[in-house]
């Protein structure tokens, strides 16, 4: 019984839902503010994303289109939020205590990271709107294209730590032998990972699935009120969890000492700033260009990185 309560606390409060959603919404504000500064604007105040989500969750009507499957249409935002929160909880519980993981938790994390995209796709198809279907089919193609280089890039820290598939082992190996980023293969696979994270988060230049100017909001078009708010929360949690995963794989993870937290915050802000700068300096690419880009040069880079890691560089 105590165990269940403890897990519930971990999942719902710290470091699960409440903590990662708050941090994610705050990171979303950093994104909006940086975007505004890049465009020489002022940008919204720091509580803007919180107000947006509170408004959508509590004060707006939730409309359900006629004839859709309610279970899928309303269940998909919840599934998306639940899996994003689970990833965030897992990596934040494992990171300070490297012994607490289980064998293969890295693989579980990779699979859970796919679920928000899949649920977005199913939600889009379920909403019976032609633009949403178009967005969902684009999301599917995008997912097929970025998952391959993403998995090959993840292989680099795995190979370097002697084929460990536990996050804890990868972190302990880095603590003993230096961080993954400090090697040639580490740098190359970090770049590949950054591009894949950009696509996973649905940021420009890979926001093809929700292209605002051509297919309105794409997969989100029929969502309103609570369902849209939950999707926004899931996106915020992903924005928090993915850079933390990169910190674990390339910078040796998080320790909860005062110095460790400062270091993590600096690394997190650097990764977030890189993502936002890429977002703001590139136009949206077409879906066929995105597929060619990920299956061509990016996969080649990832394979080179994996080969270098195999050779021990």
């Amino acid at each position: 019984m105590m165990k269940i309560l403890e897990y519930l606390f971990l999942f719902l409060v710290f470091p699960g839902f409440a903590f990662s959603a708050t941090m994610g919404l705050f990171a979303g504000w950093v994104d909006r503010r940086l975007t505004a500064r890049v465009q020489w604007r002022v940008g919204p105040p720091w509580y803007q994303n919180f107000l947006d989500v509170i408004k959508l969750l509590f004060y707006k009507e939730t409309l359900i289109p006629e004839g859709v499957s309610k279970a899928i249409f309303l269940g998909m935002p919840l599934l998306s939020l639940a899996s994003a929160t689970l990833v965030s909880t897992m990596i934040l519980v494992i990171s300070p205590a490297p012994g607490s993981g289980f064998i293969g938790d890295l693989i579980v994390v990779i699979y859970l990271l796919m679920i928000p995209a899949i649920s977005l796709m199913l939600g889009g198809f379920a909403s019976e709107n032609p633009l949403a279907s178009l967005g969902a089919s684009r999301e599917m193609k995008l997912m097929l294209s970025y998952e391959l280089p993403f998995v090959i890039a993840v292989l680099v820290p795995v190979i370097k730590s002697g084929y460990a598939i536990r996050l804890g082992d990868i972190m302990m190996h880095q603590a003993a032998n230096g961080n993954t980023i400090a090697s040639a293969s580490g740098v190359i696979s970090f770049i590949v990972m950054l591009l894949c994270v950009q696509a996973k988060l649905g940021f420009t230049p890979f926001d093809i699935a929700e292209a605002e100017t051509e297919i309105m909001a794409g997969t989100y078009i029929e969502y309103s009120g609570k369902a849209l708010g939950i999707f926004k929360l899931a996106k915020a949690v992903m924005l928090f969890a993915l850079p933390i995963l990169m910190i674990i794989l390339y910078f040796g993870g998080i320790t909860f000492s005062s110095e460790g937290i400062i270091r993590t915050v600096i690394q997190y802000v650097i990764i977030l700033a890189l993502i936002v700068v890429i977002k703001n300096t590139n136009p949206r690419v077409r879906i066929d260009h995105a597929v060619k880009f990920f299956w061509g040069p990016v996969t080649a880079l990832a394979v080179i990185a994996a080969a270098l890691a195999y050779l021990g560089r």
Binding site: R41, P44, L51, D52, T62, M216, A217, L228
Partner: protein, 141 residues
């Protein structure tokens, strides 16, 4: 002013509908999102789908084909939602008042909350109009 009014007035998602305008009002709306005026400071952003919107901004002279569509979009907007009549044409059909193809003025089709006059309204007038909208939301029970 309660918490709800504060939240609703500080996070305004605007959907923009052109019901047969000459495009000038539409361009002026985009101007207010640019560095000099920057409406995002007040939490106002433009959204692509009316189902995300809090405010329906209607430009143009509401021609006859657009009338049923304006009604439909107003019904599709999740409530609480507001309507802004934008420009001289949106407010009163402007110089097209006696034209053969303008059906009815906007405020006879859907309830209008704020009028922003001008042909096209200047960005300053738009920001003043948005302030009127915020005042209307905050005193609304």
């Amino acid at each position: 002013m309660g918490f709800k009014e504060k939240v609703l007035s500080k996070s305004i998602y605007a959907f923009h509908l052109s019901s047969g305008s000459c495009n000038n009002c539409d361009i002026e709306f985009l101007d207010t999102l640019t560095p000099r005026y920057d409406l995002e400071r007040f939490g106002i952003i433009m959204v692509g789908s009316v189902k995300h919107a809090d405010v329906l901004i209607c430009t143009g002279s509401t021609n006859r084909l657009c009338v049923p569509r304006i009604k439909k979009l107003y019904e599709m907007m999740p409530k609480p939602g507001f309507v802004v009549a934008w420009g001289a044409c949106g407010s009163s059909r402007g110089v097209f008042k006696d034209s053969y193809n303008t059906g009815a003025p906007l405020d006879e089709i859907v309830p209008v909350d704020v009028y922003i006059p001008g042909c096209p309204p200047k960005p300053e007038a738009i920001i003043a109009g948005m302030k009127k909208l915020v005042d209307k939301i905050t005193v609304k029970k």
